[in-house]
Amino acid sequence: MATDLLYGLLPEHILLGLILVLMLLEILSVDKRAGSALFIASLLAGAGVLVMQLQTGYTADIVMNEIRIDRFSEIGRLIIVSCGAILGVYSLSSEAGHKYWILIASSLLGAMIILDSAGFISLFMGIEILSLPGFALMVLNNGKSTASEGSIKYLLLSSVATALVLFGLSLVYGSTGNLNISSFTAAVATGGVQNLAASVMILSGFFLKASVFPFHGWAPDAYSSARLPVTAFLASIVKAAVVLGLVRILGNAVLNPEAVTVIALLSMLSMFYGNITAIHQTAFKKMLAYSSISHAGYMMFALVDNTGARTEALLYYVAVYAVTTITACACFSILSGEDDNLDNLNGIFRKKPVAAILLSLCVLSLAGIPPLPGFLAKFFVFKTVIASGHLTVAVLAFVASYIGTFFYLGVVLRMFRSDAETVEQPANATCLCWTWGGALLGTLALALFMLLPNIFHWVMTGI
Amino acid sequence: MIQDLIVYLIFMGYAIAVMAGVATIFTWVERKQSAIMADRIGANRCYLRIPFTNVKIVAWGLIHGIADGSKMLLKENFTPTTYDRFCYNLAPWLALAPVLLVFSAIPFGGTLVPGKLIDPASFPQLSQIMVNFFGDKSYVMQVARLDAGILVILAISGIGILGTMLAGWSSNNKFSLLGAARAASQMISYEVSMGLALISLVVTYGTLDLNDMVVWQSGLLFGVLPAWGIILQPLAFVLFLTACIAENKRVPFDLPECESELVSGYFTEYTAMKMGIFMLSEFIEIVVVSALLVTVFLGGYNLPYLTDAGFVLPMGKTIALSHATVVLVQIVTFLVKVFLIGCFQIQIRWSVPRFRYDQLMRFGWKFLLPLAALNLVATACVRWFTLKG
C-alpha cells in the first residue's frame, strides 16, 4: 500500500517535488537555467520510472476506486511526460523563467492525475489542475494586448465546462451513490433519463474543453493570443490530457446509439467547421486552432467505435497529434519567430530548408498524408469507425480530412514558393538551438511513431 | 414538537433581548469609558423624569442608549441620490441580520431540563404541569444546535461584509466608497488569521460544535485549572481577539469609518434608523464577538468547578445545587463574561491609537497571519505528541 503510493505515483511525486523546488528557486531568485535543467531532468526521470513500470507490467489499485495505475495510465502519463519534455526543450530558448516551468509542471501534474484516476474526484481535481495553470500561462510574460482577453474567454468557457461536468457527475452520483468511474460506465449502459442527462452533460463539458464544434468558440482566441510555446502547450498537452481523460472515463465501453449519433454528428461538424474555416486563416496560431478543432472532431469520432479498439486508436492519435503540434510550433518558431503571420513563410525553403521540410512534414502529418504518423492515426480511428459499421460517416470524415488538406497544403505551398520576395525578418535575438532541439526531438518521436505504429498495441497488450 | 417550539422561541427571544440589551448597555459603556479616558464626567445629560414629580432618574447616564434609539426612530428617513436604490435599502438588513444570526450557534447556558426546572418540593402543581408537558426532554441552551457551528459562524459573519460593501458602494459618495473598500479589504484580511486561530482550537477540541467545545472546557487541567481555551491556546486568544476587533471595524482598526477622515465611512449617506442600524450592528457585534470569545476561549457558561449537580471542588468538596440554580448561574456567568470581554474591547478602543491603512494591512498579513500559522503548526505538533505519547 505505502510502496504503491510511493512507487506507483512516483512520477507525480517527482513532478510535485519539482514544483516545490522551482518555487523555492523562484523565491531565492536562482538563475533560471537551473530551473530549466531541473524541469527537463525531472521529466526524464518521470519518463524513466514510467518505462520501468511498463516493463515490469506494474499495476496497482492505490486508492480503492479512486486512483488506479494500469497500463493505460502508464502509457498516457508517458505520452504526457514525453510531450512535456519535448515542449520543455523547445521552450528553453524563449525567455522562460521559473514561473513558466512551475505552471507547465503543475499542468502536467494535473494531466497525470487525470490519467491515474479511477474515481471522479481525482479526475475532477486533475482537470482543474490541468487547466488552471494554462490560463495563467497565457498571460505570463505576454506583452500582447489580447493575451488577457483570450485568457479570460478561455477561463470562462472552461469553467462552464467544469460546471457542466460537475453537474453531470452529481447526477451520476445521485443514481449510483458513489463517484467511481466504473459505476458511471455501468450506469450509462443501463440508460434512464438521469443517466442520459448526466452523460450528455459530462460529454459536453469534455467537448468544451476539447473544443469540439459547437463548443469551440474559445479556441481560436485563446490560441492566437498566447505565445507560441504556450499555444503549443494548450493545443497539444492540454488537449491530449482532456481527450485521454475522456478515454479514461469511457474506456472501450459501447455507447448507446443515440449518444453515438450525437457524437458522430458533432465530430463531423467539428471536422468540417475546423477544416473549412482554417482555409481562410492568415495567422499560424489561428490556423492551428482551427486545425485543433477539426482534430478534436477526429478524436471524438473514435468514440463511435464499438469494437473495443478505441483506446489504442486514441492513444496513438493523441500522442501523434500532440507531438506533431509541438514540433510544428517549434519549426514555426525557427522559421518565423514570434510573429505568427503565415506570410512569413513565403519562400522560406530557400533560406532555411531543413526547418521548412520539417514543418512541411508536420503539417502534412496533421493533414493525414500517408505514411506520416498523422495518417496512421486517422487510419486507426477510421478503421474502428468503419468496423463499427458506420461507413457513410467515415466517408464524410474522409471528405472533411480532404478539405483539411487544402489549408495544410497551403502552408507547404507558401514555403516552396520561389517567386515571392521573402519578408525581411527581424534579427532573432534569442538562441534558436533549443528550439531546434525540440523540433528534432519531436521529429524523432514522430519517426518512431511512423515506424512502429503498433507501439501502443504492444504496450497495451503487454508484449 | 410544540414543546421544542416553545423552548426555542424563548431561547430566540432571550438571544435577541440579550444582544439588543447588552449592546445598548455597551453604548453607555463606551461613552462612559471615553469620558473617563478624557477626564470628563460624560453621559449625564439625559434623564427620565418620573411624571408629576421633579425626580429625574439619571441612572449614571444609562438612559442615553434609549434616548439615542428613540431619537433615531423619530428622525426623517430620507434617501439621497444613490447608484442603486435596492442595494442601498438592502444594505442595513445585510449588516444587522447576519450579526444577529451568528448568535444562533452560541450556547449561552448549559443543559436545560424544563421538567426539572421547578422544584417539586416548593411548587408541586406547577412542577407537575411542567413534567407532564415537557417530559424529561433536555435542551442545550442554544438557539440552533448545529454540529458545524464554527463554520456556520464564519460563513454567516462573512455576509456582513456584503452589507458594508453594498452600503458603501450604492451610496454614491466618495467617503462611503472608500470606507467600503477599506472595510472589505480589512475584514477579509483579518478573516484569514481568524480562521487559522480557530483551526488551532478545533485541533485542540477535536470538534466543530460550539457546545461540545464548551463541554470540553468544563473539565479540569491537572486537576486544578479550568481547561479553558485561553489557557491552552493563549496565543490563539490574542490573535482571535485582535482579528475580531478588526472584523468589528473598531479602533484601532476603524479605518472604514474613521470620523476624522471619512465622515462616517460607508454609512455616511444613511439617515435616521438606517444609520442607527449600522451603529447598532456594530455594538451587537461586540456582544456577539465577546460571546464567541467567551464560548471558545473562556469556557462559555462554565464556572470553574460547577457541574450540572453543583460545585465539585478539587479538594473533594461538593456543594449540591438545584437544576434551576445551576441554569441561572450558568446564564449569569455567561452574561458576565460577555460583558467583561465587551468592556475590555471598549477599553482597547480608548487606549490605542488608530492604525494607518498600510500599517493595518501589514499588521494583518505580515504579522498576524504568520503568527497564526505558526501557532497552528505548534498546536498540530503538540497534538501529535499527546496522541502518541
Binding site: 475532477f124 489580447t146 479570460i152 470562462l156 462552464v160 453537474f167 452529481s170 445521485g174 451513490g177 | -
Partner: protein
C-alpha cells in the same frame, strides 16, 4: 415530489440561471458571479444526493469543488485586473480585439 427531488430540481434551476447569466450578461464580474452560481448549484445537487444516499463522496466532492471554484475565481480576478488595467472596462462587449 420528495425533498431530494426538490433539491435536485432546485439545483437544476439555479444551474440554468447561472448558465443564462454566463451567456447573457456582459459585465465580467457578473459573469464570474454566475460561474459561482453554477458551481453552487452543483454543490447543492451533490449535497442533496449525498444526504439521500447517506454516502460520503458527495460531501468530499463539495470541498474539492470549493477549492477549484475559488482557484478559478482567484485566477479570473487576476486576469480581470490585468484586463481592466489595460482596457479600463469590465464590459465583455468592450473586449473585442479578438474575433474568432
Amino acid at each position: 415530489m420528495d425533498r431530494y427531488q426538490f433539491l435536485t430540481t432546485l439545483a437544476g434551476l439555479i444551474f440554468s440561471l447561472g448558465l443564462l447569466g454566463v451567456v447573457l450578461r456582459r459585465n465580467l464580474l457578473v459573469v464570474m458571479m454566475c460561474l459561482e452560481i453554477l458551481l453552487n448549484a452543483v454543490v447543492l445537487s451533490f449535497v442533496g444526493f449525498a444526504v439521500r444516499s447517506q454516502t460520503l463522496p458527495g460531501i468530499a466532492m463539495t470541498f474539492f469543488i470549493y477549492v477549484a471554484a475559488s482557484c478559478e475565481i482567484a485566477l479570473a480576478m487576476a486576469i480581470v485586473v490585468l484586463l481592466v488595467k489595460r482596457r479600463g472596462s469590465l464590459d465583455l462587449g468592450a473586449h473585442q480585439e479578438l474575433k474568432g
